[in-house]
Symmetry: C2
């Protein structure tokens, strides 16, 4: 039997969110939260639009997911994110006790791993899913930005 709902399927949905951010000239990061093969929350980076450093894709998805579930813990949930989370978002994921995070591109400068942020011990991590596609969005964003200057 073919399993249509795999990490690649859901990462493509996160990439769609990142594309929404790119279309608004935002750094293109998208996130979705999935439980039992169902998407319960979506978010994309809106820091420029909202003038708010806390408006990362993950933060919005965490708030939306908890609202959907009616509880603040994201147990039995997986977040798909196009880019490795930053300290803030990893810190929020720590509090959420989310079961699993799956991210696409790595962020060697501001990502939580090199910054030394701790995830919850219960949280499983998978990285590199559709990494090239996720990174290509970031490259496109910075290419457009340079073209404007």
């Amino acid at each position: 039997m073919i399993e249509p709902y795999d990490d690649i399927y859901f990462m493509k949905k996160a990439i769609q969110e990142a594309q929404e951010a790119l279309d608004r000239n935002e750094i293109p990061v998208g996130a979705i939260i999935v439980t039992q093969n169902r998407i319960i929350a979506r978010g994309h980076n809106l820091t420029e639009t909202l003038n708010d450093v806390t408006a990362h894709a993950e933060m919005q998805a965490i708030t939306a997911g908890a609202s959907f579930l009616g509880g603040k813990y994201l147990k039995d949930c997986t977040m798909y994110i196009t880019l490795e989370p930053c300290q803030m978002c990893a810190g929020a994921l720590y509090w959420s006790q989310i079961s699993k995070i799956v991210f696409g591109a790595s962020d060697s400068s501001r990502g939580y791993r090199n910054m030394g942020t701790q995830l919850h011990p219960k949280t499983e991590v998978v990285s590199g899913i559709l990494e090239n596609e996720c990174a290509a969005l970031m490259t496109e964003f910075f290419r457009r930005k340079r073209a404007l200057n």
Copy 2:
């Protein structure tokens, strides 16, 4: 000349916010943001009320302060917080490039220092202002909680 607006004056305002949280049976943490001796944002922990792990006092104050200023960076601003920030809040403060943070009580288990979170290099830190008063609120919260069980 007496300077009425010092760290103790503003920490008392943050403690008032923490008291608001305590009155709602929330972990009592309060935060305010000050620029040029003017309070431009206030927040208190609402994680239980809002079912949202991201609803820490600091996060709400950062969003409100940036909204007031019309820009996402909190330059020339000081945040007064009753408790040492966690990874998430320190990560958000990193992005905000805030000039200074002043906190009361330390948090040896979940505070950003022991967790290894990095603040922005431009951010000055002062700790221990009205530490006993800030810590007393936390003690009172956990005393009430134990009394209920």
